[in-house]
């Protein structure tokens, strides 16, 4: 066999049956598993074969046509977006991608809604085992920016309960990231949290956080790895979404993780926490789901509650900079408009260094590094085909942060 025939033509996504189950994980039937297998493969196909065609169409006809018509090159990513809208290949890809995302929601919801009452019961029973670590505030108002549309096209988003105690959307969220990420986030969808814990352990070996806050923790996928990596720390996950916290807390209880608390709080107002009361404040894939003013408020609160010598870190996709080609900005921005992530673009335009400095951090104490998901789904015994960059959707992140000194 020559080298070529040993290289697989495609990296197949892991089968859904590899996902880790815990006590509150929804029951997944044979056909629901198969539906998710189909969708993971469809996602992989679009990312590997159809999406790269967008750049080819851009280079071959969209850009040359624009230059011919206007006598100049593109000046903004919005111009790229408008021109690409006319391209037939882009149209096919975009229509298929949108359809795939809607099917993923449909698949997850049909699975969790049919067992919504059982899920609610399981969650309530587990939560009753440790009521002191789940602090809900039923009067908390859902922030405007979360309520005017449903983020990533999940009907009802993070805050809707169809009946008292309903957690079906949280369970849907838990079940589906494996599919949209092609398993890249690991069996427990915690590859981001593991990556950040591992970075801190390796790069700040003397840092011994006693109190850690994870803002916008969702169901705690990436909170729990912090709690396991720092077993002596008290970890608090906060979120505005009541059903997310109920499910996330039950999940933590089911997984036997004790040093974590879940609280229903709006991150823009952390007045219940004293000045200088946390060693580490984390956000993971969170800031892009807020708004400009919210980011200012959240930044100020983070600086205020952080202890001297404390650490603040934010995991996001790479920021758009003047050096990033407009085509790449456009394709990275796709989810903003077409997967209901409307603050995505404005957030990725923010200079994170300026933002952190404006809240009180000093320039010499800023950090920036890349992180890659720690993925226990990879089969290291098989050769891999070269990976195709799936802009804005890969489990490879930029981490921004700062020490408070």
């Amino acid at each position: 066999m020559d080298a070529k025939s040993q290289t697989p033509a495609v990296n197949l996504p892991p089968v859904y049956s590899l996902i880790a189950r815990h006590e509150v994980f929804p029951e997944v039937s044979h056909d629901e598993t198969a539906r998710y297998n189909f969708l993971a493969n469809l996602n992989r196909h679009l990312a590997t074969y159809i999406s790269p065609g967008n750049k080819i169409a851009f280079d071959k006809r969209v850009q040359p046509n624009f230059v011919a018509e206007h006598g100049r090159d593109f000046q903004t990513r919005d111009e790229v977006k408008e021109a690409m809208k006319q391209d037939p290949h882009y149209q096919s890809w975009a229509a298929l991608r949108r359809s795939t995302m809607e099917m993923r929601q449909q698949g997850g919801r049909s699975m969790t809604l049919r067992q919504a009452e059982d899920l609610a019961k399981k969650v309530a029973n587990l939560n009753a085992k440790s009521p002191e670590t789940l602090i809900l505030d039923p009067n908390l108002k859902t922030p405007y920016y979360l309520s005017i549309m449903d983020n990533h096209c999940m009907p009802g988003s993070y805050h809707t309960e169809l009946f008292e105690g309903d957690v079906s959307n949280a369970a849907n969220y838990d079940s589906g990231l494996f599919v949209t990420s092609g398993g890249m986030l690991g069996k427990y969808t915690d590859g981001g949290g593991k990556a950040i814990a591992s970075w801190v352990l390796s790069n700040a070996p003397d840092f011994k956080p006693k109190r850690i806050l994870d803002i916008g923790c969702g169901i705690g996928h990436n909170t729990l790895p912090l709690a396991t990596a720092f077993p002596d720390a008290e970890v608090i996950g906060l979120d505005t979404g009541g059903p997310m916290l109920k499910y996330g807390h039950a999940r933590a209880v089911a997984l036997g993780i004790k040093n974590v608390k879940f609280m229903q709080i709006n991150a823009e107002n952390l007045s219940m926490f004293e000045n200088e009361s946390f060693d580490w404040v984390q956000t993971t894939m969170f800031l892009h789901e807020t708004s400009s003013k919210a980011m200012v408020n959240i930044g100020n609160e983070i600086f205020r509650i952080l202890k001297p010598n404390g650490l603040s870190l934010h995991i996001e996709q790479p920021q758009y900079t003047a050096e990033m080609p407009l085509y790449e900005q456009f394709i990275r921005d796709w989810d903003a408009f077409y997967n209901n992530e409307p603050f995505w673009g404005a957030m990725h335009d923010v200079d994170m260094n300026d933002w952190m400095i404006s809240t009180g951090f000093k320039r010499e104490n800023l950090l920036q590094f890349g992180a890659r998901s720690i993925n226990d789904n990879e089969d290291h015994t098989k050769p891999k085909a070269p990976e195709v960059e799936d802009h804005g959707r890969s489990a490879i992140w930029n981490v921004f942060g700062a020490w408070k000194k």
Partner: protein, 119 residues
């Protein structure tokens, strides 16, 4: 009790973008992809069954041809069809939902992006 069949295919808050020049073609594409998905599901299920039967050596193909469901089985099968059809026709349901929703549930991401960048 909730109507899990219809709820499963709900439209998300926010105006749905269309990409193909002819919206009706995109509607058909959406339906077709859902059907393609269900065909794949069926294929996987049959594959499971055939492999199990093969291992256990228990079934003759002719038994499948002559099978008639009892009333409970028939009901289960009909419910399966109802769920299946609602799933496949998701896009029609969502356009109808958009028509009935308050306009504030149906704002464009461009408009919201502009606003969130500002406020």
């Amino acid at each position: 009790m909730i109507n899990d069949i219809l709820l499963s295919s709900n439209k998300a808050k926010g105006k749905r973008p269309y990409f193909l020049e002819d919206k009706t073609v995109e509607r058909v594409l959406n339906i077709t992809m859902a059907v393609a998905g269900e065909l794949a599901v069926m294929h996987e299920r049959l594959d499971t069954i055939e492999r199990l039967l093969e291992k256990k050596n228990i079934l003759q193909r002719s038994e499948i041809e002559s099978f008639i469901p009892n009333s409970e089985e028939a009901e289960e099968r009909q419910r399966w069809h109802a769920t299946y059809i609602a799933r496949v026709l998701r896009t029609v349901q969502q356009e109808l939902e958009a028509l009935q929703q308050d306009p504030s549930h149906n704002r464009s991401m461009e408009e919201i992006a502009e606003e969130l960048g500002r406020i």
